[in-house]
Structures are given as C-alpha cells and as structure tokens.
C-alpha cells in the first residue's frame, strides 16, 4: 500500500500563557484509496490534526514540529508545510478536499447551490466556458444523488442531508485523491446519516479517492473503515484494521470506548463507560495520559509515556503489553476486552 498522505512527528500547540499541546508527536499514513477512521472524543486533537494536514490552522494554533507529505500518483512528493500562497491554493481542493460537520455553516446562505458549486470550478479551473461549468455543476449534483433542479435552490430550502450532499459535491468538484471529512454526519438523523455514509461508500468505489473520516462515533467507524486510529489527549494510542480493533482491542482506552457503545441486538448486560475525564493538555503529563482513568494502571504508567509500538497486527501505546516495563504479563481481562471502571465515583479536582 502506498501512502498518499503522510504525517510525521506532528506536534501542534495552541499558544498562550499555558500552551495547550493539542497534537503531540503524531505519525499517520493515509493509503491510496482507503478509508481511514480517526476516532476520539472532544478535545483529543482529532480536528486540529485534520486542520494541520490541510494547512487550515490559524493562530493561536502553531505547528511546533513535524511534516505532512502528499504523494502524487507518479511518485512526486509535495511538502505541504512548504507550500506558498499560490501553490497552496492550487494544492487545496485539487489534491485534498474537506467536508466539515455543519453543512449549514459550510454553505453560504445567500448564494444558490449553483453559484457555490461554480465558485469552486471558477477558482480552480478558470478556463471553463459558462456552459461547460453549468454542465459540470449539474453532473456533480447528480453524482451525489441530488436532483439537478436543486441547482437554483438556496441552502435553507434543502434538508440537512441534502445540504451535506451539496458540500460533498463541492469537495468532489476537482476529483481530489484525498478527502478529509470531519464529523460529516454528526448533526444528521440516523436514517439520513446512513444515507450519506452509503453515498460516500458508493462514490469511493466509483472514484477511488482516499478518505480520512473523523468522528467520535466509533461504532460507525468500525462499519465503514478499512483502518482506524484512536486518539487520546493529542496522541494516537492505537491503530489497527477495523476488524482487528473490533475483535482484539489492545489499548485500555479502545477497550473502554468499545464497551461504551451498547450493541443494538446484543444481550442485556451490565455496561460501563469510562469514568473520569481527559487530562488538561495545558499541564505537563509525565506518564501515560490515560493512566488516571485506566483499570489496568501500574506504577510505571504514571512515570513513563508509553511509545506507539507494533504488537502483532496493531500499533499500541500501552505499557500493559510490554512485560519488561509493566512488570507482569498483560492482564487477561484486558486481553479479553473487558473494561471494569476503577471507581464509580466522579471525583472533581
């Protein structure tokens, strides 16, 4: 598998009196044509990572270190952080397009659907004739399953699902090999969400682009992704194929997250989430950032940051899988994918 987009050692801070380390030392590869899921809860840095990959970060966000590399089909490499004004403009949308969560906010309310689609073509393919442009807009709309008569509609005249389809059509306008989708279905009802997911799956099969799909909804990712990366406190704590992650989650946070989603059809049983909350990323963290919420915590977890290490078919950042530092073999309960919270009490600091 060749990577179309690679992130190396990326660290992003939000500057201030107490800088917040939103993304820390992240390595990630998006392979050509795959759907890579990026899961994590609010504040874990997943959107910051996506924005950094597309150079959309604005101060106070600052890239402290790292590189993002885009690979052309021919093998030429583009250093994304090295792009200047005009090069960057041409890189965006042509090579990497984005779809954001609030389709309502991503579209301009006072401009018709046609004008917004035309804008994209105008900006990036200025040579097109008016007729050609109109034809392309209609095609794009039909590609995402919206009637071409909707071209003259304004965003408020469309349902939430249709609006999100229009933003996907805009992202597809230049047929980019990479789409970054940040919570594209979160604000939608479950039926419409399913509808959009099917559309994305279908378009991906037809057009062959790769997707970085960001969401807090792990159960959804497990269904649609080829591979999944799980983020916690600015770091990737586990990365594996969707199947592997579902069947053999290795990081206690992944285990806890998986058990936080009851299965619709599964047996009724006692279920737990993960008590507690993520650490303050403005404070230095000595050991594993998940340690305070972890039922498998041992002294080493408070002292040493576990590196992301290959374990069979997965990458995991957890001491429990390294007997030499953990002191004992990985607990059976962890290997069985069980998560028994440390305490029921919610302690306020």
């Amino acid at each position: 598998m060749t990577a179309v987009l690679s992130v190396r050692d990326l660290t992003v801070d939000y500057a201030g009196a107490h800088p917040v380390h939103a993304v820390s030392e992240v390595d990630l590869e998006l392979h050509r044509g795959e759907l890579l899921g990026l899961a994590g809860e609010s504040g874990c840095g997943k959107s910051t990572l996506a924005y950094a990959m597309t150079r959309l970060l604005r101060p106070p966000a600052e890239v402290r270190s790292g590189t993002v590399t885009f690979r052309e089909p021919g093998g030429d490499e583009i250093d994304v952080f090295g792009l200047g004004g005009e090069e960057l403009r041409r890189f965006r949308w042509k090579r990497v397009a984005m779809v954001f969560q609030g389709a309502m906010n991503a579209l301009n309310p006072v401009i018709s659907v046609r004008s917004q689609l035309e804008d994209v073509l105008d900006a990036h393919e200025p040579g097109l004739s008016k007729q050609e442009r109109r034809r392309r807009c209609a095609e794009l709309l039909e590609l995402v399953g919206v009637d071409r008569r909707r071209l003259t509609s304004y965003p408020h005249e469309l349902s939430g699902g249709m609006r999100q389809r229009v933003t996907i059509a805009m992202a597809l306008a230049l047929r980019p090999p990479v789409m970054i989708m940040d919570e594209p279905t979160t604000a939608l009802d479950v039926v419409v969400q399913r509808d959009i997911l099917n559309e994305i799956t279908r378009l991906r099969t037809e057009l062959g682009f790769a997707v970085l799909f960001i969401t807090h909804d792990l159960s959804l990712l497990l269904e649609i992704s080829d591979r999944i990366a799980i983020m916690y406190a600015g770091r990737i704590v586990e990365q594996a194929s969707a199947r592997e992650l579902l069947e053999r989650p290795r990081h206690p946070y992944s285990v806890g997250l998986l058990s936080s989603f009851p299965s619709i059809a599964g047996p009724r049983r006692e279920m737990h989430g993960i008590p507690g909350h993520p650490p303050d990323l403005g404070e230095p963290i000595a050991g594993c950032p998940f340690a305070p919420r972890c039922p498998y915590r041992r002294p080493v977890c408070d002292e040493l940051l576990p590196p992301l290490t290959p374990r069979d078919a997965a990458l995991v950042a957890c001491h429990a899988h390294e007997p030499s530092t953990y002191g004992v073999p990985a607990p059976d309960a962890l290997l069985r994918g069980e998560f028994h919270p440390v305490a029921e009490a919610e302690v306020v600091s």
């Binding site: 919206v146 909804d217 579902l246 936080s260 009851p262 299965s263 619709i264 989430g273």
Partner: protein, 341 residues
C-alpha cells in the same frame, strides 16, 4: 387505542390524546398550524423506564415540554396519581414537586453565576424539603453523594464552568432529585456528552430509578440505549406514535416500516451481516427518500407512506394503532385486518 402500561403496574403519570399545535406563520391572514404532537397517549409507571424515540422534529421533546408544564397542551389530559393535574398556582408547584426534568444541554441548564450548592439549595427551599438550615446543608451534600460527585463539600462550592459536561449533568440530575419527585423526564440526557461517559450517566439514572421507584421517561434518538435502559419503547414519527411495545420486541423485531428503517440504519458493528452495505430493502427506502424534501406534505393519510416500501392505496387513509403482539401496537395498515375488507 392507547399505550396502556397499567398492564404492568399502576400508572404514575397517564397521558391521553395529547395534542400540541404551534403557529408557524400566516398565509392570507390565516394562521398556519403545525401539529407537533398529535394524539399521543402513554403511561409512566413507577420503577420503570419508558423510552420515547424518534428523529429530530418527531415531536418527542415537545412531549417532554408539555409534561414538564413548560408549555400547555392544545388538548388532551394528563393525570398524576389518578388525578387531573393542576396548571397554576399551588397546584402547579405541587406538580413540579412530583415531575422533574433533566435537559439535554448541561452547559445551558445550569446558571453560570451560581454555585452547585445554590442550584441544589433552591429547589430544597422552594419545595420546603428541609426543616432547618443545617438539615438543608446536609441534604445538599446527600444529593451530591447520590449522583456520585465527590468530594461533596468541594463540589458544592464549584461553579458550573469548573465542571466537565458529565459532572454538570450529574448536578442537573441532583437538582431534579431535590424535590423528591416520583416522575423523572430525561430529554436526551446524554447526547451532548462525550461517548465514554454516556453510559455512566444512564447507569446513574437507572440506579436512581430503582432506589426511588421513579417513573422515568427517557427521550432519545439512540435505539441501542433505548433498548438497554427501558422496559417499553414508543416510536414517534411526525407527531404521532407509530409503534409502541416491549423494548426488545420494538427494537429487535420492529413491526412498523419506519421503526424497521430506524433499526436498520443505526450503526452497529457487531451486526455481522453488514459491514458496508445495507440490506437491499433499506437501500431502496433510502433512494426514495433522497428525492423527497423533509416535511413538505402532511396529508390525511399515513405520514410515512411517501417513504414506505410497503405503501398501498389504503395508506391514503390514516391508519390507527392496532395490536401486533402482546402489549405491542403499530400504526400501519399492514397489520389492520380491516384493510383488506
């Protein structure tokens, strides 16, 4: 036909034929009416949770607002402990003692200027739940203990912004418990919270239900937790109840085509037969749906007909709720013996 839960016990709160209209505009001087809730009936039973599910705009939150007496019903009756409820003055205060609500957004439902202590002390005082100041102090701390927020004294002194979303929702639950209600309305209590803490909050509500023998209405769009945390489920579509019955039956073997659609659309990676593709039937449904604008028609017939794969000529007439199993009903002509006549 009504959702009569008294088969299982004595109803604490009985809701019958609830209707709520909203004026949504004027056309040629005539008021345009949107019927957000249309003839909804159900019972809330002590010690049991009833889940009310549906997508946005189905009217489920309007039901909660009417039950909390934040808005008045256009018609219909609500009985508490067998008696018609009072709607003003002392009777309203009495009602609020008994029926409490937890809202969706714990960031908006707590006053940022006041401490946790203030939020809990107010209902205790308003409803005369403490005889003395020291008793009141003690009850504030007890409430925090009941929702597992520790150390209690320290939490009491905090302002909402010093707490996480889950902690705030625990405070909102403690506040709802303060008047010692018999009915708890939980309107999407976890949908604003991070996924990892949702189950903890639902477990807490479940535990309090058992401890206090509360009748709980759990409003949600999430079928999985609706099934796991309730004994019965009601499904609403565009203001009407389209299906109601035992939780396992409604979610695992849904009868109404809309409930079937909801159940098949919900993500569930543990459902092995579908990794990426939907069963053909649902795909067809979705294709029909794609071409339709939401909420444009509201005719006389079945409201789901335009999206329904089983639509028949008779669906132009409004179906009624018919029995499809034990204490299980669906509003669909497919199950109405009269349809063939």
């Amino acid at each position: 036909m009504t959702e009569v839960a008294s088969r299982n016990g004595i109803a604490t709160l009985e809701v019958r034929d609830l209707v709520r209209d909203f004026v949504v505009g004027r056309e040629r001087g005539r008021r345009q009416i949107l019927r957000a809730v249309d003839g909804v009936s159900f019972d809330l039973v002590a010690g049991q949770t009833l889940a009310l599910v549906g997508e946005s705009g189905s009217g489920k939150s309007t039901v909660a607002s009417v039950l909390a007496q934040l808005i008045r019903p256009t018609s219909g009756t609500i009985r508490l402990g067998g008696k018609l409820i009072g709607t003003r003055g002392r009777a309203l205060r009495r009602y609020r003692e008994e029926v409490q609500i937890v809202f969706q957004d714990p960031f908006a439902s707590l006053n940022p200027f006041h401490t946790v202590d203030h939020h809990l002390r107010r209902p205790l005082r308003i409803h005369h739940r403490a005889g003395s100041k020291s008793e009141e102090d003690e009850q504030v701390l007890q409430l925090l203990e009941r929702v597992n927020l520790f150390p209690v004294k320290r939490v009491a002194g905090k302002h909402p912004h010093e707490l996480s979303g889950g902690q705030r929702q625990r405070v909102a639950i403690a506040r709802a418990l303060a008047p010692r209600p018999s009915v708890l309305l939980a309107d999407e209590p976890v949908s604003m919270l991070d996924v990892s803490i949702r189950l903890e909050i639902l477990n807490l509500i479940d535990q309090l239900k058992t401890e206090d023998n509360l009748a709980v209405l759990y409003i949600t769009h999430d079928l999985a937790t609706a099934r796991h945390f309730s004994s019965r489920v009601i499904v609403m579509y565009r203001g009407e109840v389209v299906e109601s019955g035992p939780a396992d039956e409604v979610i695992l073997a849904p009868k109404h085509p809309y409930t079937q659609l909801l159940a098949s659309a919900a993500p569930d990676p543990r459902r092995p037969e579908r990794r990426t593709q939907l069963p053909e039937r649902t795909t067809q449904l979705l294709e029909r749906r794609t071409q339709l604008l939401e909420g444009t028609t509201r005719g006389e017939g079945c409201r789901f007909a335009e999206r329904c794969p089983s639509a028949m000529p008779v669906c132009a007439t409004r179906p009624s709720l018919v029995d499809v199993g034990t204490a299980h009903q669906a509003r669909c002509w497919l199950y109405d013996g009269a349809a063939g006549e």
